[in-house]
Amino acid sequence: MIAARKVRRPLTLLLILVGVAMIGGLVSPWAPEQIDWEHITMAPGTAGHHWFGTDRLGRDLWARLCAGLRLSLVTTLVASAISVALGTTVGLIAGYARRGVDELLMHLVDGLYALPYVLLVIIVTTRVGTGPGSLALAMATIGWLPLARATRDETRRLRSAPFIEAAIVMGLPPWTILSRHLLPNLGGLLLVQTALLAPQFILLESFLSFLGLGMTEPAASLGNLLSQGAQSLEVAPWLELLPASTLVLLVASLMRLGEAYRDDHDAAAA
């Protein structure tokens, strides 16, 4: 599955971006917050090892972009991890339990679904603070819902699948059936759902930071950079274009990856 052509390209791109995020900052002589008085608002590659140019305060864009990528990826990772853990647990319980418990849990999920997501995130961040941790937490508060639904539906479907029935008739203990037959067959779906969740989180984080609700100055996040860059669009377009392109590449690679896994999963199920 990993080697499939459709997966290779987005995966490669993603890995490149992750690589850049991790070590890109180390390669540059500049720190993200460091101010270079002599080179303010310089175009990319013109002076002083500023490969991506500098902003109005003389801060190196490459360093800030790498830091921004790092922050976005980490926040998304944490938010995804919380969502997956919570979503699959609730989904599994609802899928396996009696009707009463299942209905209760699903009503809860549907109820939370009805709340306006962005508003909720805003409320959480204003109360808990605006660091990456709280942002991740805020995003995860509702991010787990679709996963819970999908997991519950798939668990329910698998439960009545002939091969699960065959496993019961064979005499396998319930835990073995769950771990050996149910979960692995659920795994494909989970991977797809998670892969499609990540780009949404990235966009959300960027959006919030852009509005000033996510990460705030002087921290560099993709959203911040987009927000700052927007202000100097006519004078220094690279300040907007480069972060925007990075965001596009990141989201596109994640989405392609998710879609490739989903197609693969659907084809196998057919």
Binding site: A166, I168, P184, A268
Partner: protein, 322 residues
């Protein structure tokens, strides 16, 4: 021969469209150790439901199922689970009954490991390969997953897996449905050989009367949830006593250029009292409308539930409604 399976007065209700009806109605059946019994009847007669009820996979309203003397409904979950390998079922959907992520070998090996947890991996592997070879699956296919195998091949894997549990009773539910004659013959030979090897009992549910000739000692005929006739295979198939059994047999094509006889269309709405078959029966008489015919003896080990076939049962029968 000791009794392996004793089903007594088993009833299962099925709910559909806001009404419930008896899918299995007071069915009694015994299978002795080493015996092979065939179960025939129209679609919807309750055969599969009976099989699942024996396995304790559907809820029963009444009656009991005793396996090797033990009442299955009284067992704890753990006891039932430990007993399960002794009663195995092979169904109609071979590909779907295999875990899509397991290779043929892994599916069979799982049953072996459950039976003999202390066996070394090498021994399990060897036995699994052997069992697949026994069912005629080429070794190259043992690493294939269900979606890479044909329906007939999946069925063989399912058979190998069921046999790997070393069951004392094997229930086969329409396992040759939709297979060509060559495959069907192989499956029949397979089961006959397995039975000869291990002395296991068989319960064969099938529409195909041809298979029953080869594989079964006795036949039980069901109609709308009830047992209507039992007897040895040759008796039931060659000299059927119940009109429904006769109709079932007449519906099988047997000669070149001669169309099989379709069942009579029901002449009237199903009646509330009396024999359930009367509206389709050409030989119905007055008593058929009054009371449900009980299963009465018409010879050694020969039972028929029909007023015409067993008139002596009328004496002492009370009016029953259902």
């Amino acid at each position: 021969m000791s009794t392996l399976l004793a089903v007594e007065g088993l009833s299962v209700r099925h709910a559909q469209h806001r009404r419930s009806y008896p899918a299995v109605d007071a069915v009694s059946l015994t299978i002795a150790s080493g015996e092979s019994v065939g179960l025939i009847g129209e679609s919807g007669a309750g055969k599969s439901t009976l099989a699942h009820a024996i396995l304790q996979r559907v809820r029963t309203e009444q009656g009991s199922v005793r396996f090797a003397g033990r009442e299955l409904a009284r067992l704890t979950a753990g006891e039932l689970r430990r007993l399960r390998p002794k009663i195995q079922l092979i169904g109609q959907q071979p590909a779907a009954s295999l875990d899509p992520r397991f290779t043929a070998l892994q599916s069979v090996a799982e049953a072996i490991v459950l039976r003999a947890p202390r066996q070394s991996r090498a021994a399990v592997h060897l036995e699994a390969l052997g069992r697949l070879a026994d069912v005629g699956l080429a070794e190259t296919l043992s690493a294939h997953r269900p979606h890479q195998l044909s329906g007939g091949q999946c069925q063989r894997v399912a058979i190998a897996r069921a046999l790997a549990s070393r069951p004392e009773l094997l229930i086969c539910d329409e396992i040759t449905s939709g297979q060509d004659a060559l495959n069907r013959l192989q499956i029949v030979r397979l089961l006959a050989a397995a039975r000869a090897d291990s002395g296991m009992s068989l319960l064969i549910i099938s529409h195909e009367l041809a298979i029953l000739h080869q594989l079964t000692d006795r036949i039980v005929v069901m109609h709308e949830g009830r047992v209507i006739e039992t007897g040895s295979t040759s008796q039931v198939l060659e000299a059927p006593r119940h009109p429904k059994t006769r109709a079932l047999i007449a519906a099988v094509p047997t000669a070149i250029g001669v169309l099989p006889t379709p069942p009579d269309a029901p002449r009237a709405m199903p009646a509330d009292t009396g024999c359930r078959f009367q509206s389709q029966c050409a030989s119905a008489v007055a008593v058929c409308a009054r009371a449900v015919p009980p299963l009465a003896s018409v010879g050694t080990d020969r039972l028929v539930a029909c007023w015409r076939a067993a008139p002596s049962a009328e004496a002492g029968a009370s009016e029953e409604t259902f």
